[in-house]
Symmetry: D2
Subunit: 253 residues, 4 copies
Amino acid sequence: MLKIGPYEVESRLLLGTGKFENLDLQAAAVEASGTEILTFALRRVNLERPEPDALAHVDRSKHRLLPNTAGAKTAEEAVRLARLARASKLSDMVKVEVIGDDETLLPDPVGTLEATRQLVDEGFIVLPYTSDDPVLAQRLEEAGAHAVMPGASPIGSGQGILNPLHLKLIICRAKVPVIVDAGIGSPADAAAAMELGADGVLLNTAVSGAKDPVGMARAMNWAVKAGHLAYQSGRVPKKETASASSPTAGLLD
Amino acid sequence: MLKIGPYEVESRLLLGTGKFENLDLQAAAVEASGTEILTFALRRVNLERPEPDALAHVDRSKHRLLPNTAGAKTAEEAVRLARLARASKLSDMVKVEVIGDDETLLPDPVGTLEATRQLVDEGFIVLPYTSDDPVLAQRLEEAGAHAVMPGASPIGSGQGILNPLHLKLIICRAKVPVIVDAGIGSPADAAAAMELGADGVLLNTAVSGAKDPVGMARAMNWAVKAGHLAYQSGRVPKKETASASSPTAGLLD
Amino acid sequence: MLKIGPYEVESRLLLGTGKFENLDLQAAAVEASGTEILTFALRRVNLERPEPDALAHVDRSKHRLLPNTAGAKTAEEAVRLARLARASKLSDMVKVEVIGDDETLLPDPVGTLEATRQLVDEGFIVLPYTSDDPVLAQRLEEAGAHAVMPGASPIGSGQGILNPLHLKLIICRAKVPVIVDAGIGSPADAAAAMELGADGVLLNTAVSGAKDPVGMARAMNWAVKAGHLAYQSGRVPKKETASASSPTAGLLD
Amino acid sequence: MLKIGPYEVESRLLLGTGKFENLDLQAAAVEASGTEILTFALRRVNLERPEPDALAHVDRSKHRLLPNTAGAKTAEEAVRLARLARASKLSDMVKVEVIGDDETLLPDPVGTLEATRQLVDEGFIVLPYTSDDPVLAQRLEEAGAHAVMPGASPIGSGQGILNPLHLKLIICRAKVPVIVDAGIGSPADAAAAMELGADGVLLNTAVSGAKDPVGMARAMNWAVKAGHLAYQSGRVPKKETASASSPTAGLLD
């Protein structure tokens, strides 16, 4: 079980709902992914009129919502969005995004830390999206974050894990769940994150941008389970020299 | 379906039977892996006395046998082992291993090509284990190999895919199945091989050498399926710059 | 010329003076490296008694001193060390190190930013050692840093550049010099940093910890020049397919 | 000194003469590179009329010629070209290229081995261009090759070293010089090859295709020296955890 604050889920795959071609495709991919936590941008949601919108097809009995503050450029904006989300009864859980660079969408370390502190104070369940800086991740945990979400590579880049050492350091030091967010491009990347010991991965573009998003969602579902089980099963060490798979003592000679 | 010569199987994971702690563990890992093709060293098998041995626990109704010529250092030795296997009714399918370096167990290119030619001539279904040299793989196919099995890294090293470009070139040019053999250390490696377009992977040490071989076998089962489905589903391209998962046009501002 | 605040130097290699076996070896390596800027830990220097010490063999007419605040764990400590250095007439230039993790010696992002702001306000020439977080590097520049010094990998690890994309992003956005600091293990690493467009590299362990520190210092001297000249000379693009070096139109056929 | 058969040179950089914009640029780059061995395609040379041609500007008193058999697709063609070169008094040293793949220009392992055997028998000084297959390199040495020239990546691709382990294995096992040929894109790549213990590198496109070929030639000159000296000087080991450059015992606290 993945336990974030008071909430528990079976699936370690978190899915973003953005950029699917249509809502039917979105719903089918959500189903295939096996996810139980869906993230979406508060900026996309009309919080005043609960009408057909980006979340219309989501069966809320089966999925927990994780609104995110995408688009916020300051701690204040992020905090304001989170408050609106809670006031609208959407969720008291929030993924903090405070963007510090328009081209790469990399997060602002100081703004992220400030927003996390403030929202923890206000009683939110807070999951900050952060760079892979191991010390910053530690500071976010000290500030009360309920999970930390380091990026593998820039959002939507599909470049996979750029710095496995930093992710590993974050995972080794963290007492809260570490959910690798952003940059995962394929099942191999997702499995690699889980094999490092991550508690979960959050995907969006890798699924919604695939030629067949439903097939890719299913593949990611398997890959996250595979990576997690492999982490638990204790992989073989890497060795420079070979060791024969077939014991050398034989009968034919 | 994976089609090798006249044989078809569903599972794209081939498993080696060597180096399991005991035969019960071997049998449980075989089951968890979902494999339908098992490889084993002919040198380990007493071809004259069909007594309890390394294959005793294998349900031959569910698994096709792929004897290998591990230990052979010349084409002649490999050919001799293959003939004995066929004479003993074990199999007319053979994985050719002609080792050219004792420390790394890397294959001998010339010996491998000679043994392949000879065994094809004699009517065997031939799967040569080869380095990741793209031209050599092409020559093996021209010699009549029914599949080619390039190594990801040295046998038992668990180093994963050292040269993805070479594997990709082999896969792009091959008309016969390409089965990545040797060096796979974890599900992420296995998925990565399949995402390059490989038709299958052969594992041994990564499973038998894991702390929990049965858990790892199950993880590999999922990973191979995940990588293959991802290949079919068309992954997103890698991009240097980010692209927002959450469409920018929003309602909250 | 590398221009840091009001100071200009020819050599783009900055050298740390720590951990040499003896001061003669240190002096010979300093000479072979061609460096003009030497860094040293203020904690190692007895600021009250200007007696034979770690800097005794340094010809201060040829080398500018860059004291660093190694060992500081808070902005306050770093600021205090810098003030002492200036009071002792050692230098008004300071490399800010505020360590956030005892095992990896990775910097604390918030403390580094605070110390940078404070020391800029007090008129120092400030060069903060920072993680490779591109947004943090931008914030440090906005705070008035005269150069930014992102790490390639943890101090003394010799792992080289873990995340070339992050370094490249920092370099592309910075208007002040970017000096890659920490983790460089070999001339190939140093050249790679310069080829990304870095303005300089700071070395210590890679030189002092080599079997022959003087030989390695000379090798690094060449490598930094090579990488910088290559950056200016415009390298060939990387291509997936080959292109013949030898034009195909020939006379022999 | 680099010793190939009976010949000795100081410089460990071998340069190809193809694809320079004009012969003046070629001559200036040759000079800046410090090379003493120049390679050129026999197919480009009119062996019957010793008129102004691709080698016209080469001062043969300062440079040894290494004709190559670029364009040959069989051992026979390569042997024929080598014989013509010797008959024309160009050189008794030959770089064997037998191309096995038109798109990547990767070498044919069997053809390369055959041509090497034949030319050794005929008394040539033979340097075969080969893939990075460690066993094949061993076979070439056994066949009498005076040096082996494994590719870093496909010719002209500028991708650098795709498989450092294979190069390292080749270098560890070889008793003849190992000259890394093809795919080097930048000084960092060249230094990396030398740091693995290579005896030399052969460059062409990386220099002739740079925006400023003369600057790049000079950078490569430094990088090859840097990598070789670093190899001799004993680099620091790579470590997962950091170790402080500045000794922790200090005076200030």
